[in-house]
């Protein structure tokens, strides 16, 4: 483990401990009330999900065209994180929606496209696990298409009339909400960076073990 890991872990823990306090102090939203506070974890998770999908796509493209194994390891780590944070988004969203819109789910453009993008990365994990030899390249192709999805998902809420709020909400947050929101966003980003590094390192150790197996068999 790198020397700086413990410091960042501590920082992440501190941020996440303070976050609920900040969220509790934030003003209530006029129409949605208390349940709107899910926003402070829902949107940063979505931001991380998009970032992770993007990183996975770029790393996969690098792996496909330059055949660099480190790129493949980062892609595998980023795909798993996309699924994890996507799961958070897809569960906290409906919990909020139940109160704000009266329904758990609605097949509008944003929700549908997010679910599909999440499924692309779930399929990535499935194909890596069960695809047999050469599955890394199959997954990489999936990730490239998944990455192409990201701008589409983001913009879907502006192009179509959806029940999901538009992207104008975040830039126009009031000062009382801005603080906790960006605090949580930074906390999530930091956590994401850490998880990505750790998970990629796990992949690296696995590759090292494979290498050792080959050496052990040789002798």
């Amino acid at each position: 483990m790198k020397k700086s890991y413990p410091l960042f872990v501590l920082l992440a823990v501190v941020l996440f401990s303070v976050a609920p306090v900040m969220v509790a102090q934030a003003p209530y939203e006029a129409t949605m009330g208390l349940v709107q506070k899910i926003f402070y974890y829902h949107v940063p998770s979505a931001m991380v999900m998009f970032l992770s999908a993007f990183i996975c796509g770029v790393a996969s493209a690098v792996y496909l065209f330059k055949a660099r194994p480190e790129a493949d390891r980062i892609a595998a780590a980023a795909a798993e994180l996309t699924v994890v944070f996507g799961l958070i988004v897809l569960v906290t969203g409906p919990l909020w929606a139940r109160r704000a819109w009266g329904v758990w789910w609605q097949w509008d453009a944003r929700l549908t496209s997010t679910l599909l993008m999440w499924m692309i990365f779930v399929a990535y994990l499935l194909v890596r696990r069960f695809g047999g030899p050469g599955a890394e390249k199959l997954g990489a192709a999936m990730a490239v298409f998944g990455m192409a999805n990201v701008p589409f998902v983001y913009v879907s809420v502006n192009i179509w009339r959806t029940i999901h709020p538009t992207t104008r909400v975040v830039p126009t947050l009031s000062p009382g909400m801005r603080g906790p929101f960006w605090f949580c966003a930074i906390a999530f980003m930091l956590l994401f960076g850490l998880l990505l590094a750790v998970r990629a390192r796990l992949e690296q150790r696995r590759a090292d073990v494979e290498h050792l197996y080959l050496l052990a068999d040789e002798e």
């Binding site: 009330g33 349940v35 569960v91 179509w160 947050l173 050792l212």
Partner: protein, 113 residues
Amino acid sequence: MHRVTMMKLTTWMIALWLVGMSGASLVAQAGAPGATPAAAGQAVGQEPQDQFVPVKSLPQQDQLPASTLLITAYGFVWAVLLVYLWTIWRRLVKVEREMQELSAKIGEKSARR
């Protein structure tokens, strides 16, 4: 040569799309001036929110039922992250153990020689 072909193809594609999109939008606008993609989405009778409007405190009846949802949401986030961290930890431990076993085995073999 193949790279040049790819770039040419991509440029053709983009050009075709631009032409197609402008054509389609011109036709669409000529057809019905008021047409928007609105009807294509779900007509729920609600405008999507553009802004979050803050207030200082809530009317009493809105507070209790929402708190279950809020706590479940936050709890879920924490649970997922902790479970995920635990799975990484478990896999890392397993891999480190395999590493050690293999290193020991290789060490033995080369010592024997």
